[in-house]
Subunit: 397 residues, 2 copies
């Protein structure tokens, strides 16, 4: 197998739910060996999130493909000892417990660093390991609310709406990846590990919300939900077609002229109300009223072909079933398969970056709970079968 950027990097993964597992999923895609530590019987809480098939959830499998699963009871002294021995063999530890949990377990960074001095330790949390909110419990929706994201998302003059996906979890996970890759580079230069503190709130504010905060700060104007309209350009919104809907965007005058030519209604472009960018934006509601019945006569496919030929910006508003079948995503090998012992094989989304050092893989395996316990203990800690059996006797189902 070809060498990937993180080949040879071993990650001990204590995370569950989404932020941490999404981070270590990407580390696995980049070649790391990820050993996911799960508690006896239950494992990661998301294993039973609906929808499930034969007891295992789509969420668990999608987000934990390509990892190993090792069962440890971190509250039992003998298993805590196992954890410390495993940590000594790993380059990276990732956890997304509530701050203070690892200290209470006796597994703090300070303890782990003693047995593995160049350890890279990533802690992902809702609000971070410091500051007045550090002990607050956090779920994705709470962070979407706190970060201001909800206050700018929704219908114009409507109430705040959260993202339909767990955005703060995913963005924090991506910063987790960025921080581990950076720490691996830095360790190569200095020989030193480090403690990394990623918070979901910081991650949202420093990325998705950065522009809104800068704009507010410069102008003093507090932004509110704008629906699907653009703050300075029209048309820039969704339209219903004969058989679906799509968004249409014309940021420049030339693009609007081309759109109206394509629609066979150049007289709309020639109307002084809509003839330049500023007029169009000032009269955006009137423009929407004029365009809606025109576009309603076209099918989504016809609109897409016409706009594509003219190099205009648009997007079909796809439902998730259409995304899974989309020809572009198929052509890019983004819709891949994953297999798990209980749920069998189904499709999910792959690693998005196309690069030589991380080639596309079209079939992955996700681990059943504890699937790799014996092999990891045998291979990494050189333990015998008898010793392993004794350590897990109390946990047999």
């Amino acid at each position: 197998m070809d060498k990937k950027p993180l080949s040879g990097i071993r990650v001990l993964d204590l995370t569950q739910f989404l932020s941490g597992p999404f981070c270590t999923l990407t580390l696995a895609d980049l070649g790391a060996e990820v050993i996911k530590v799960e508690r006896p019987h239950m494992g990661d809480s998301t294993r039973t999130d609906i929808p499930t098939k034969d007891g295992t959830s789509a969420m668990y499998i999608s987000c934990n493909r390509g990892k190993k699963s090792v069962v440890l009871d971190l509250k039992a002294p003998a298993h805590k000892e196992l954890f410390l021995r495993l940590a000594a063999e790993c380059d990276v530890v990732v956890e997304n417990f509530k701050p203070g949990t690892m200290q209470r377990l006796g597994l703090s960074y300070e303890t782990l660093r003693e047995i593995r001095p160049d350890l890279i330790y990533l802690a992902i949390s809702g609000y971070g390991q410091t500051g007045p909110y550090r002990s607050r419990g956090a779920l994705d929706i709470a962070i979407q609310a706190m970060s201001g994201f909800m206050s700018i998302t929704g219908e114009k003059d409507g109430k705040p709406i959260k993202s339909g996906a767990s955005l703060a979890d995913v963005v924090a996970g991506l910063y987790g990846v960025i921080s581990v890759l950076s720490a691996v580079i830095w360790r190569g230069q200095t020989g030193k590990g480090q403690y990394i503190d990623v918070s979901m709130l910081d991650a949202m504010v420093g990325s998705v919300m950065q522009n809104a905060i800068g704009r507010y700060s410069l102008s003093g104007v507090v932004p509110h939900p704008q629906g699907n309209r653009h703050p300075a350009s029209a048309p820039f919104q969704e339209f219903s077609t004969r058989d679906g809907s799509l968004v249409v965007c014309c940021p420049t005058n030339a693009q609007f002229k081309s759109l109206m030519e394509g629609l066979g209604h150049l007289e709309v472009y020639e109307d002084p109300m809509f003839h330049d960018t500023e007029e169009r934006y000032a009269n955006k509601n009137a423009l929407s009223d004029v365009l809606s019945p025109i576009i309603a006569e076209w099918s989504t496919q016809e609109m897409a072909e016409m706009m594509e030929k003219r190099g205009l910006s648009f997007g079909e508003i796809n439902t998730v079933d259409a995304v899974a079948k989309n020809v572009q995503l198929q052509a890019r090998d983004m819709i891949i398969e994953v297999e798990e012992a209980h749920a069998g094989r189904f499709t999910t989304a792959g690693f998005p970056v196309k690069m030589e050092c991380a080639p596309t893989q079209k079939l992955y395996r996700a681990p059943a709970l504890g699937e790799d316990t014996e092999s990891v203990l045998r291979d990494l800690l050189e333990m015998g079968q008898e010793q392993i059996d004794e350590l897990y006797m109390a946990y047999r189902d």
Copy 2:
């Protein structure tokens, strides 16, 4: 100055708008020297996006802090020659043109690789460099629509709503960072550069949308907007308080009991309609009707204190002005200052990861257009003042 992970890495940055600039912003935060190439007179199109102050936009400054600005006219042969000489001195080239643009300019990866064999070349685009949609123009909202994100975001039974922030741009930018860091590690191992193809659509589908695609694929159920409710848990929604609003989440029975104790209405928990997780979810609308008048008597602050003391999950629904003043973000040094020659100094959001190798910086500078042209040409290409003057004579304002 302390060494950062990308100290010594020089990035030639041809990007404008958001996806590319956000990527190179993060590379700069990690220590890279980012030389932003801007066209004469106009520069990056976002320099004039409203709101502006003395002609420079909040968006440009927030997203381009810590970079150098060099003016080049890539259509003029003498400047194209300058670009090639600069590329020879750089480790990374980043561009977010429509696919095919660099080829048309005579500056393709193949050309650049000849003069810099270990070059890391990152192309960010809407749909990617391959596949049937590769030549489609793409804006953030089009990708939010295409990726399925809009189809799962919005009021329950309402129409699809886009994120109020340019989500697809930011997520693609983060994958750009991940890919460049990976390529730097891989170059260290193999001596080889590479071509990297990141698309906004792939980035959204492989991260934010991954869970929805996996769930759909396993269950066959197409997801639609759910408002702010959770698909399996209640209460998990926003409530109005006496003076604002907040989201309240109780994924477990114990948390719901604690909430009702804190609110002084344990009888709601004892009601058989709401006594366990499944009943509560089945009767979630009735539960919302019961809780709304109770919570409406509390202030947001009182609710926050009560829930925090009990370790419950909640989040105030902050507007952007509240985010900029938030005590937790202040304590984490996430609200920082940026200074530009024309707009002066204002606040924006900083780099979210707290780690030793990328220490927090509280004041940054963003470049005026071409601010670093002379120093870069002098230092990197050893050009004299006369030569520089001649190359830029035609572009004096």
